[in-house]
Structures are given as C-alpha cells and as structure tokens.
C-alpha cells in the first residue's frame, strides 16, 4: 500500500490516461451515434414508465414536462442558487489547499511522509460517514455544506497533485539546474508546468467529488437546495418532479465535467509532451 | 574450401513443381489503401519460400490471407488443392511479436494449439516437450514468457507451430524482435528444421541476406500495391560451414542482384 500510490484517477476514462484513451471517447464518437444513444435511453425510459415498472417510475415525457414546470415556477433555479454557492466555494478552497498541499508533499519528504497516508486513507474510505458529524458541529448552513464538499474533493486533488509533482520529468529538472535555475525557478518553471495536466485532471475529479458531497449534505441533513427539492417532492409523491430534479443535477455535473475535459484537452494536451 | 557451395545460375522464372499452396489473383485493399493487386503464386511443397519487399508492400497482408486471418477482396487460396477461407489445421502461424500468453508457462504455450484441438493433457504435453527440446529449450518448460529472452520466446512460438504438425508454416518476420546473435543461430536452426521436418515454410522478411541465406525460393514484391516482381531461386548448398556460406561468392552475388532489383524502390 505504501509503495505505489494508487488513486481513483488511475481508473480508465478518468485523469491519468485521459491524455490518450477516454478523452477520444467523448470526441471521436460521431454526433449521430451520440444522438441515437440519447434517443434510445429516452425511449427505454419512456417505455419503462408506461408499462409502468413501478408506480414510482414516471415516463420520460412526464419527467421532462415536470422539469419545464420546475424551471417555470422558479423553484429549480432557486434551489441551484443555494446548492451551487457552497459547491463553488468548496471547490475553490479545495483547489488552492489541495494543489498547495500536494505540491508541498511532492517536494518535501517529511510532508509526504506525514500527510500522504492520511489522504490515501481518506480517499479509500467512505468519508461520507463524516457528513452528519460536520452538520452537528457547524449547523445546517453554508459552512457545513462547504465542508462536505471539501471532505470529498480534497483527497483526490491532493493525491493527484502529489503524484504529478513527484513523477515530474527528472531530466527537465536536471536541465533547469544545469542552466543554473534556482530551486524556486525549478518549481515554477519546470515542475508545476510539467505537472499541470495531471493536476488539472485531479481538479476535475475533485469537482465530480464535490457534486457528490453537496448533494449528500443536502440529502442527509441540510434541508436546502437540490437535496431539499428531491426530498420534498418525494414526500409529496410528485415523482416526476423528483426525477426531473435528480436528472438535472446529474446532467449539470456531467456537463461541467465535459467542459472541464474539453478545457483539459484544449489547454493541456497540445503541449503534453510528444508522447 | 569452396566445395561446400554448389554453384548454379539463379533462374528467374522456374516452373513450380507440386505446389502445396496456390495463390490465385489475390487483391486486397484497406479502405482506400490498395495493399495487394492480383497476386498469383505457387509455393512448392517441402521448400522454404521467402516473401521479400519494401516495408508496407503487403507481405504481412499476404501471409495473413494465406493463413485465413484476413479476407481478400478478390482471388482465392488453395492448400493441397482445396480452397480455404479460414484458418485450418494444415497451416500454422509464427508471429512477429511471438503472441505468447503471458499467463501461461512455455509448456502450456507450446501445447496451446493442441489444447484448442481438444487433445488430452498428458498427450499434448508430451508432444509439446518434444518440440521444446527440438528448438533447444529443454529445461525451460515451466518458465513464463517474461522469464525468457526474446530469442527464447520466439523459439516457444516456433515450437507451438511445429507441435500442431501442420504442413505449412507461416512465419512473419520471426526474427525481427530477436538480437543479431540469436538471429544467426536461429536461421541455422531453421535450415536444419526444414531439412529434417519435410514441411513447407513461407517466410516473410525484409532482410535480403536472411532471405538468400535460408530460402529455396525468394519472391520479390513491388511497393504498394504489392505485386510479384521477380522470383529467384538462390540454390545455395547449406550443408557446409555457415560462416563460409556468408562469404561465398555465389551467395554474395545473389544478395547483390536482389539489392540491384530493389534499389530502384528505395529512393
């Protein structure tokens, strides 16, 4: 366990391999097939809803109508305002803290020894168990939600940054030193740029984890935002509205991740070492 | 000193005797790339024929069509007079990258062809052991591919092809991933095998020296789209000292002649 740091990002389709593998999955697929795939999904949903597989399984069309309704009456946008604030704040804080800590651990052996095991544990363990606790300590406000986001997002960001900094191209570092670069220059001119694709991939994974954190916090204790909307419509048995809300948050997170991946490819890929 | 090498003028278009593999009008395109155009060839029984040509001329493609691994767009392949379209037990393939199963020992790799044919374990392992010894790997039966050197791995691949007792062995640049010493040693082994196994070998290479050294017949292919441009029979007596053959005038002349033929493509 202590030998190789394995993070979720090793998973195919996520960070590290994105330089070649799965990124193409999003791009190379003909648009037509993508549309067919979506249509098929909607069709199966519609049929399953019409059978119906369960009294609590609305059709696709009913869900879509409910979605329009939720937007029209303003409840969905309002819920998003209260959900996205802590999400954004949590992500930004985790990004700064995580990249900082990760870089530190990658460069400084004692820091690595002290902190990395903690984050390995946090990444592998079901930290969601902490969320009720956080709510206990900080109440049901913005702080608790932000902390929930950070608890989930921080480990993956730290570990990715750490891995990237640690596995920096050694010959580039030697090159910089041989041209009399200072330690500071080595870090800012070589290490961080070289590590940036993997760091960014870590941030993307952090965003995905942050979505989980905020939804979980809202579902578990804090009755606000999207989580509250889901719970509320469930309690009133407005299943179409409930499904619409859930689908919207999944769609939003997916879109966010696609945009981030697009940026990753655009910004970091061209200069990502010839390989 | 020269006596070991028998001289004969290379004849350019000899009449084939008793062909075991007949290639008739084979053409193949990959999308818009035309790889092969109208190939007609006979491979004589019990001989070693090399396919030689510039990179990308379709040697591998032709060999895989003969093996039944890819389908041609036009034309047919007959083995022993019967038209074939799929892999069959009378042909065995030796792969450039060895294609060994990394999770299986040398013994199981060699026996794999027989395993797929449903032969009982004891029986197939006995046969496998025999051919492992034949290619000089006795004692390495229980090693995994990653514990063997490149040359040894290719010997395993060769033993696997021999153990299914096919009449025709198809070898796609079998020595290209093997270092030079092993390669020489291997070529000699192949010559020995050919003389005492009575099998037909079809051998892809892009080394002219190698082709002249080991082949009974050399088929020169033109650059893409691949066509048969020349057939050469080196007629070299290989019973003597291998080192002498490499210095023999007839051998060197043949190499030179083929090089002259190919040079025009190298520009």
């Amino acid at each position: 366990m202590a030998t190789g740091i394995r993070t979720e990002s090793e998973a195919v389709g996520l960070a590290t391999r994105s330089t070649r593998g799965e990124v193409d999955g999003w791009r190379d697929q003909p648009v037509l097939l993508r549309l067919v795939s979506i249509a098929l999904f909607a069709g199966i949903w519609e049929i399953a809803g019409r059978i119906p597989v369960s009294f609590a399984f609305p059709t696709f069309s009913a869900t879509f109508t409910a979605f329009i309704g939720l937007i029209a009456d303003g409840s969905l946008p309002l819920a998003y305002v209260s959900t996205l604030q802590p999400l954004l704040l949590g992500i930004v804080l985790s990004a700064f803290l995580g990249v900082g800590l990760g870089t530190l651990c990658g460069l400084w052996r004692t820091g690595e020894w002290l902190l990395i095991p903690v984050f390995i544990v946090l990444q592998a363990a079901p930290v969601a168990a902490f969320i009720p606790m956080v709510t206990f300590v900080y109440g049901i406000g913005m702080t608790a939600k932000t902390l929930a986001v950070m608890i989930l997002a921080l480990p993956v960001i730290v570990l990715n940054t750490y891995k990237a900094v640690r596995n920096v191209n050694e010959s580039l570092v030697v090159m910089c030193r041989s041209f009399l670069g200072t330690r500071w220059q080595v870090v800012t001119q070589i290490v961080l740029p070289d590590a940036s694709p993997v760091i960014f991939a870590g941030l993307r994974l952090g965003v995905a984890a942050g979505f989980v954190g905020v939804v979980l916090a809202e579902l578990l204790i804090t009755p606000t935002g999207i989580g509250d909307l889901i719970t509320f419509h469930r309690s009133r048995a407005d299943y179409a509205e409930m499904y619409a809300t859930i689908a919207s948050i999944i769609a939003l997170s997916t879109l966010t991740l696609i945009v981030l991946q697009w940026i990753e490819v655009r910004v970091f890929r061209p200069e990502t070492r010839g390989a | 000193m020269r006596a070991a090498v028998l001289r004969k003028e290379p004849s350019s278009m000899p009449a084939p005797i008793d062909p075991i593999v007949e290639v008739r009008g084979i053409s193949k395109s990959y999308g818009s790339t035309e790889a092969l155009r109208g190939i007609d060839l006979d491979f004589p029984r019990g001989k070693l024929t090399s396919l030689l040509g510039p990179s990308g001329c379709g040697k591998t493609t032709l060999l895989k069509i003969i093996a039944g691994l890819i389908k041609a767009n036009a034309g047919s392949i007959a083995v022993d007079g019967k038209v074939v379209t799929a892999p069959g037990p009378e042909r065995a393939f030796v792969f450039q990258d060895f294609a060994l199963m990394p999770w299986a020992t040398a013994l199981r790799n060699v026996a794999f062809g027989l395993e797929l044919r449903g032969k009982a374990r004891a029986e197939r392992e006995e046969i496998a052991r025999h051919y492992i010894a034949e290619v000089g790997l006795a004692g390495f039966e229980d090693k995994y591919p990653h514990q063997l050197s490149g040359g040894m791995r290719q010997r395993v691949g060769l033993a696997r092809a021999l153990s299914v007792d096919a009449d025709v062995l198809l070898l796609d640049e079998p020595f290209s991933a093997v270092d030079e010493q092993n390669r020489r040693k291997f070529q000699e082994d192949l010559i020995r095998l050919r003389s005492n196994q009575n099998k037909t070998f079809i051998f892809v290479t892009h080394s002219i020296e190698e082709a002249v050294y080991i082949s009974d017949r050399i088929v020169l292919l033109s650059p893409r789209p691949g066509r048969v441009s020349q057939i050469i029979e080196p007629e070299i007596d290989r019973s003597g000292d291998p080192d002498l053959i490499h210095r023999d005038k007839h051998y060197l002349d043949t190499v030179q002649e083929i090089w002259q033929g190919l040079k025009q493509y190298a520009e």
Binding site: E10, P132, R234 | -
Partner: protein, 250 residues
Amino acid sequence: MTLFGYRVPMMASLLVWCVLWEIVGRLDLVFLLPPLSEVLSAAVGLVQTPSWQSATVTTLRAFFTGMVLSIVIGVPLGILMGRVKIADDLLGMWVNIFSSAPLSALVPVLMILFGFGERTIVAAVFLFAIWIIVLDTRAGVRHISPSLIEMARSYGASRRALYLKIILWAALPEILAGIRLGLIRGVKGVVIGQLLVAIVGYGALFETFSRNFRMAEFWALTIILFAFALLIAELIERAEAKVEYYAGAR
C-alpha cells in the same frame, strides 16, 4: 522518510496522527472528539453488542450481494463494449456519465423503487460499483494485442475458447484494477445508502449514536468502516500483484 538512518515506512505516520488525536482528545480541544483510547475501548465494547453484530451481517450481506452483481454484470458488459463497436458507441456515453455522476442523488429513487430496506442498499452498492468495472474491463479488452487474438484464431479457437482462454485472461489485470476500484466505490455506496435509508445496518447505528451524542461509539464505528475499506483494497491489491508480471508483457 529516513530517521536516524532507518527507513520509516510511509504508513507509520498514521501512528503520529493517532498520538495527536489522543492528545487533542484529552485536552478536549475539538468539539465532539473524544481521545483515541476512549474510541478504541468503545470499539472493543461495540463489537460485542448484538446490535453491531447484526448490523455488520446486514451490511456485509448487502455489500457482497451488490458487488457480486456488479462484477457478474459489469465484466461481461465491459468485454462486450471492448469487442463490439456498436455496443461501445451506444453504451459508452452512459457508462462514462454514470461513472462520474453524483450517484448519491439517485439513492432516493432507489428508496422509492426498492423500499426502505436491504434491497435499496444492494442496489446502491451495485450502482456505485459497476461503472468503473465496466470501464476498466473495456479498456483491458481494448489493450489486448491483436496478434494474441489472431494467434488463437489461427490455431482454430472456437468463439467460446477465444473468450474464456484468451480475452478474459489477457484483460485480467485491468479487470482486477476495475474490481478494486469498484470495491472501494461499493463501500462508499453501502455507507451512503445506509446513511440515507438510516434504518438499516450501520446507517441505523450511526443515526442512534449521533442523535444521542455517543461520540466514542460513533468514531469507533467510523474507524471500523475505514479499516474494512482499506482491508478490502489491500486484499485486491495483493491479487493484482500476482498478475502484474504480465500486465506489461502483452
């Protein structure tokens, strides 16, 4: 790290944190954090209670059922996507979406579809674990060297033999990696599911402990869960090490 010339194993630093926890707990510096020793003795007490034992049985049962389902369905699905282009085109997008979507939002749906019981937890584990298994299996199948497959065909392998003797084995390193990640996600799924359902297994215990401010037991349960998650990851990693030698050799 080296200390006085000795290499100190990385994980040893966790001991430092344990000591720190003990000190912080004793000094009562952080709200709701009892000293580690108290938590550990609570853990010893906890594992002897029938409520913990039955909760553990429920949790493990749900976990393993969900994992078996996701492996049994996920691996063939991944192989299908790796081999059949049209399946990959149609499903790839959804597998990608679900592998990184906030699936916790779907747990309320599971609750109304499967009821407030163990079936929901099984479904949650399945939902959390399967996508990464599919993705990794697919990647494993994609990475198989074409010549290995040609080899099998040239020696006359039947379709069944091709899948059972070549493809499954050649993709094994990635399949195991996928299962390891799937197990980690599955543990998260079981915990999130139980927290949300709150009347099954550990979820019920967490609920009781936190409502009654029984913090030592709360932390003890958390530690047990963490230990379980790490143990599982470690076990699979051992299995992976066994096949590592051929991962690079293909």
